[in-house]
Symmetry: C2
């Protein structure tokens, strides 16, 4: 531990969409609690977002004011103080910042712009916390090495199951176990649709309901074809099992061909259809798949309904351990960012 | 972080019963993995147990040899090297030791001998890792203060749900959330008996079966009357919710009066009887209870069967988060000890 008891952590936020807004809302509401409970002092000194607006003030931004502006105007361009000409790369290289929170939109093909942001921040000696799946799925080994070389932390709990502990659970809270298999329900949209189908709603109607509730995008391909779950399987394989797989290595089948008949037939046989992401280690090889499967009602994942997610880690010393919680949401993912920042605080300053 | 990359952690083990043996077995099997994966170097330099024997060797003990002796002779008195006249208090005060692992039998009335061991070790600047429920349930605020004063860590993941993450889960992997309620199945013996009763076995026969399998003691009072679960409720209340309750504050009812009729009647109504430990925060007051309850089959804890345990944390930012895993066992609790030691290693030496 560094004996720097009253350090004020200076945070820069790259991206101010749902997750960034959720995170800032939590910071606003928990400022006093974070000081009292964790002796955590911080200043959010900059936000950079090409659509919502950018602002930089080394004195610290007012989180309540930012949320108010987003709610009332949809952007922060009229924030009353600070410089507005800041861009995301300048932020990632700024000497003023200790921690970069990278929450730009996920691109699983190029990882950009997140990948460049994260690399630049690490190279410039900043800790990085992200919920951006693209860069982690595409470049985890390289980014990990870069963080190590620059003696900073790269944390990304929010990439899998939002704030429900998944990576921190297995890597830290279960440190020392060996994992030979991971199974999970890691996409809320598809689990919601399958749950509705058990209530006798057709696939098409269930999808519409998911879209109405904001669980599914207008173009639902990433969810219903299993791409989102496959990206998470890649992250689990590479981070937890030290694999080097890519999304092309994941055997992937979505839920678009699951019929009401299939769902009913499973139920009649004491089973349920779930979109199961699975990563299995066999010797030095890792196999990953995402596909709809019939599981028994007594299976640890069988009772995970609606938009809730879950992961089961099959371990040597503990057998199967299952965690169940939310898999998405702005506050839920903002919570993942907060947890990771508090971990950096625990490691790098003495309380 | 302290820049002490290749520190060799010197460990002293106080108590060599089930948990101590499980822990040493894990150390023996994982020595190479721990070095490669975590850069964790250690020497187990002493064990003190009034029945199994004591041995001290600053060069480090041979874990495989210790396990072999226990398995073949039931004690380690004929270990071929080292001093045999070491006692537990001397160990807790020894300048040679960095981490004391306290795993003597639990006494929930006095906390002894664990309480004295832990206090002495902390006072002498040693980190302490324990699975001993007595001292934590009785004296957590005092012990925490003592650890802080001496700038060392006191960790006790194994006191609740063995190696299944419970305290580290909520305090670290979900740092930043507020918890207003905790519900759980925290005693494997009673859950096993209730599960067997659903298979139409009488309470008496199910208890005998639990005793035959080693889940229940010859005197099953601590389990079936809810004392064990009540102690865990006290730990959860005081550690997670910063309470100051004692076991006398827990409303406690065991399962001895649950009949086959009760179990069947619940099932007919789509419910299940479970021994639920519950801790609720209402303003500044904390209420804790342990009692058999009817829960709906869709309740997060309803599918937790047999000797498996589970906890649901009701949080502000994540809603309910449930963890399911083993609640007891020598290897499972040994794993909790290992996880806590690796946490100390992460905080106090740079890898």
């Amino acid at each position: 531990m560094i004996n720097n008891k009253n350090k004020i952590w200076k945070i820069g936020l790259v991206g101010f969409g749902n997750v960034g807004q959720g995170f800032v809302r939590i910071l606003a509401l928990k400022k006093d609690t974070l000081l009292k409970r964790y002796n955590f002092r911080f200043k959010l000194i900059a936000i950079a977002d090409p659509i919502k607006g950018s602002v930089y003030d080394p004195e610290g931004l007012d989180e309540f004011r930012l949320i108010e502006l987003i709610e009332n105007k949809g952007n922060i361009k009229s924030y009353p103080k600070g410089r507005k000409d800041i861009d995301s790369l300048t932020l990632c290289r700024s000497n003023d910042i200790d921690i970069i929170v990278e929450v730009t939109p996920t691109n699983v093909e190029t990882g950009e712009p997140g990948l460049t942001h994260i690399k630049e921040a690490l190279k410039h000696g900043k800790h990085v916390v992200t919920s951006n799946k693209g860069p982690i799925a595409l470049a985890y080994p390289e980014l990990k090495e870069l963080a190590k070389k620059n003696r900073v932390m790269l944390r990304f709990e929010g990439t899998v199951l939002s704030g429900t502990p998944s990576l921190n659970l297995i890597l830290e809270a279960m440190a020392g176990v060996d994992v030979n298999k991971i199974e999970g329900i890691v996409n809320g949209t598809t689990n919601f649709i399958l749950t509705k189908m058990e209530e006798n709603m057709s696939y098409e109607d269930a999808l519409k309901e998911a879209q109405r509730l904001g669980y599914a995008e207008a173009d639902p391909t990433a969810d219903v074809e299993g791409w989102d779950a496959a990206v998470k399987a890649v992250i689990l394989a590479n981070v937890v099992m030290k694999g080097k797989i890519t999304i092309k290595d994941v055997i992937r089948k979505g839920i678009t061909k699951v019929t009401l008949n299939d769902v009913e037939d499973a139920l009649r046989n004491g089973q349920r259809i779930k979109l199961i992401a699975r990563v299995v280690k066999e010797g030095d090889s890792i196999k990953a798949s995402v596909k709809p499967e019939r599981i028994s009602l007594s299976h640890p994942l069988a009772n995970v309904m609606g938009a809730i997610n879950a992961l089961t880690f099959y371990t040597d010393n503990l057998g199967p351990v299952t965690i169940i919680g939310p898999g998405a949401g702005r506050i839920e993912t903002g919570q993942a960012i907060l947890t990771d920042i508090l971990a950096i605080h625990r490691y790098y300053s003495e309380s």
